[in-house]
């Protein structure tokens, strides 16, 4: 018998993140490295830990190996608990009716048993692929004050971008009267952040009903939330005004990393009261050599830098030799950038090697044809041979050599 929990979190981490292309060909999107030493999932896990949520189920599906190893016992996020803690929940087979998670709601449905162990009053549904800092305890307080059955976190987006989101149309008391998925003509700018609190008994009822409908795609946004609205349940929009970014595309991932270098962007990673935790690799401090010139960049443990580095983020154990230059780029773990190589506007994934004099990416101003310009991406362990060139927007698959 487990102790009762007021609220537990279920974190959807099974997404493939296909729009990150080569960056997610061997790992799930939540395991994609971010910001020098983090993974995307660190933000939601740290938010849980900092909000006092000590029971988190992580639903995995796509390429879970790296993510499972990364989560481990949950110790880095202080989620190795006697009662509760973190639990990875992959899809499973029961007799003949085992199956993959069909949709976001189905993933939760298949784990009703896990949730019921803790007899929670509320369940927090999260997705592991957003970068933001949020206190879920405040959101729960709001949910309780409103006497809501479901609370959906929303943030204001510019009206011209609103048609890319699920938009909540609300009354003055923030109750939701309508939900529109990617509306052509948005009526409001309150975009859903994919963070929901449900009163568990209600959610359970709607999930069971939804599961019985063979036409349903078993998705929160497409099925559960519209069904609850139609049935007249009390649903509220919880306004959030901090930094939030879906890092689901190469451009967004690059931009979110660059945001860390911009002092005007409110994503402070060094707030002692709201730390972002991560699993550390065993390594040493970083070394900045005599020929190095570093401006407006983030550099972390184990790096050995002799190169010119501007407006870039270097993850741990990166070596960048003298005469090389790195501009406006994200360089992940253990990458080697050799003498004379030039990396600009690029994302270089772990263990890649950029050999002598190779050129990766180019600045947009040097590129006459803007439509064909974009961030150059080098996959895990790929190699750009001496003197070779990787054009903007080009991608090298993991392990590929050029």
């Amino acid at each position: 018998m487990k102790l009762k929990k007021e609220m537990i979190a279920m974190l959807l981490a099974g997404g493939q993140g296909s729009r990150l292309y080569v960056l997610t060909s061997s790992r799930a999107k939540p395991a994609v490295p971010f910001g020098g030493k983090y993974r995307i999932i660190d933000f939601t896990l740290s938010n849980c830990s900092n909000s006092g949520i000590d029971t988190v189920g992580v639903l995995t599906q796509y390429k879970p190996l790296e993510l499972n190893a990364y989560i481990g016992t949950g110790q880095p996020w202080d989620l190795d608990r006697m009662n509760g803690g973190i639990q990875v929940l992959p899809p499973y087979v029961t007799g003949s009716d085992g199956q993959w998670y069909k949709g976001t709601a189905n993933a939760i449905y298949q784990n009703i048993e896990f949730i019921e162990q803790y007899s929670p009053t509320y369940v927090l549904i999260l997705s592991g692929d957003h970068v933001y800092k949020m206190d879920y305890a405040k959101m729960l307080k709001f949910h309780k004050e409103k006497g809501a059955d479901a609370t959906i976190a929303v943030m204001d987006v510019p009206i011209d971008q609103a048609s890319a989101f699920g938009i909540m149309n609300t009354n003055e008391d923030l109750s939701i009267y309508e939900f529109e998925e990617k509306p052509k003509v948005p009526k409001s700018t309150k975009a859903s952040m994919g963070v929901y609190i449900f009163t568990w008994e209600k959610l359970k009822k709607y999930m069971i009903e939804d599961e019985a409908n063979p036409e349903s795609s078993n998705d929160f946004g497409k099925n559960i939330i519209p069904n609850m609205l139609n049935a007249g349940e009390r649903m509220f929009a919880y306004p959030f005004d901090g930094y939030w970014k879906d890092v689901g595309t190469v451009d967004n991932l690059w931009e979110a990393n660059m945001d860390l270098l911009n002092p005007t962007i409110p994503l402070n990673l060094s707030d002692p009261l709201w730390r972002i935790y991560c699993r550390h690799s065993l390594t040493t401090p970083h070394f900045i050599g005599e020929s190095a010139d570093i401006k407006n960049s983030m550099i972390t443990e184990g790096c050995d830098v002799e190169a010119c580095v501007n407006n870039s983020i270097l993850f741990s154990d990166v070596t960048a030799a003298a005469g090389a230059s790195v501009d406006y780029s994200v360089v992940m773990r253990n990458v080697q950038i050799k003498a004379g190589a030039k990396v600009q506007y690029a994302i270089i994934a772990d263990d890649a090697v950029i050999e002598e004099g190779a050129i990766v990416g180019a600045p947009p101003e040097d590129f006459p044809d803007r439509d064909n310009w974009g961030i150059a991406v080098i996959g895990q362990g790929a190699k750009v041979r001496a003197g070779q060139k990787v054009l903007p927007k080009e991608m090298l698959a993991p392990g590929e050599s050029r």
């Binding site: 020098g36 972002i276 390594t283 040493t284 970083h286 900045i288 401006k295 407006n296 550099i299 443990e301």
Partner: protein
């Protein structure tokens, strides 16, 4: 390696402790070193690297920062169900003075020694910067059939070092305490010993009876004729931190790539307590050359040949060279530092200038505002 270890976090020889300011509020072993480590990390990591998983840590006084650093030993993989890290707190005698010799202390922790299953014991100090290959030292100890193995290095002796004369098989044939006699490189005994548990017991009894103080001076120098003492030469980087001058120069040694590769070799990494610091941020005005920097810093000043610990802030216009800046310190605008050791939580205000020389660095105490 089938051994347990008794690790001393202070020294017990009569040599005056010249590290005053740095060890004023902490044990020798917990002095910060190399941008994110503490001295004890080097010995702990060397031991863990040779699968020594039973380590008893002897503390005397001022061990708050040490306990804080070690915790349950998780960061060295020493939070084990069986064995692991054990902090042996001081045993005051009836008149409440602390035991200040190694043999009295070992006698007082015999309960811990009794409970150890391994047949061999490592007795060591934790005030040195070195990545020691204990597996090799242990193998040589067994091969040589010696009663005791002592770690030695070849270097210039300083006052009161124990000089060794070795035969072809590395057996110690003579041991004398260095005075001012000669100044050439020779074998020096260091505070790292391997012996059987039964011999350890015998030496404790002997030492307590005769009022001995330290293994190095009393056992090695007095017993080399009776016991078969084997010297194992450590050929890699080795420094005993016993003065601010050595502290500064050893830190600056970490700027040398070969020394770093030896000390922080990947086959036996130096482990330390992890903290959740963010990556270090360099600003538009930063000018950094030949520096070893930890995470969590915000650097917008000019730094060369320096060691910067975690969460240090260096403002625009500040100039730092040949210095060590410890955790959480803040160097404000246009301050200027040369050959300075800045302890933790120090603030150097705008325009202040502090200058030492390499042989006489200035030490700014923990928590001070200049």
């Amino acid at each position: 390696m089938d051994a347990f270890c008794i690790l001393f976090t202070d020294t017990y020889d009569s040599k005056e402790n010249k590290l005053n300011e740095l060890s004023g509020k902490r044990t020798l072993a917990s002095i910060p070193f190399g941008a994110r480590f503490r001295l004890i990390d080097f010995m702990l990591s060397s031991l863990v690297g040779a699968s020594v998983h039973n380590i008893g840590i002897i503390t005397k006084s001022k061990y708050g920062s040490l306990m804080d650093h070690l915790g349950w030993g998780k960061d060295w993989d020493l939070d084990r169900k069986n064995g692991g890290l054990k902090i042996l707190t001081p045993f005051a005698t009836t008149d409440f003075s602390y035991n200040d010799n190694q043999f009295e202390i070992l006698k007082s922790v015999h309960g811990y020694i009794d409970s150890m299953l391994p047949e061999y014991c490592v007795v060591a100090n934790a005030n040195m910067v070195a990545n020691i290959n204990f597996n090799e030292m242990f193998a040589r100890h067994i091969e040589s059939g010696a009663d005791i193995s002592v770690l030695c290095t070849k270097r210039l002796p300083t006052d009161s070092d124990t000089e060794l004369t070795l035969d072809e098989a590395s057996k110690v044939t003579k041991a004398i305490i260095h005075t001012t006699s000669k100044n050439e490189e020779t074998y020096i005994a260091e505070d790292v010993f391997i012996m059987e548990k039964s011999l350890l017991y015998a030496l404790i009894d002997h030492g307590v009876s005769y009022g001995w103080r330290t293994f190095k001076k009393d056992v090695i120098a007095k017993k080399f004729a009776e016991l078969n003492i084997n010297a194992y030469e450590h050929k890699g980087y080795f420094k005993i931190i016993d003065s601010p001058e050595v502290y500064l120069s050893a830190n600056l040694d970490m700027l040398n790539r070969e020394i770093r590769q030896d000390i922080f070799r990947t086959s036996q990494p130096i482990l330390t307590r992890t903290k959740d610091s963010v990556p270090t941020k360099y600003g538009d005005n930063a000018h950094v050359s030949n520096c070893y920097v930890a995470d969590g810093c915000v650097i917008d000043g000019e730094i060369e040949n320096s060691i910067i610990f975690r969460n240090v802030k260096i403002a625009k216009g500040a100039k730092i060279s040949n210095s060590v800046i410890m955790q959480n310190s803040v160097i404000e605008k246009d301050a200027s530092l040369e050959c300075v050791i800045i302890d933790k939580n120090v603030k150097i205000s705008e325009n202040k200038e502090i200058r030492g020389v390499k042989t006489l660095p200035v030490v700014v105490n923990k928590g001070k505002t200049v």
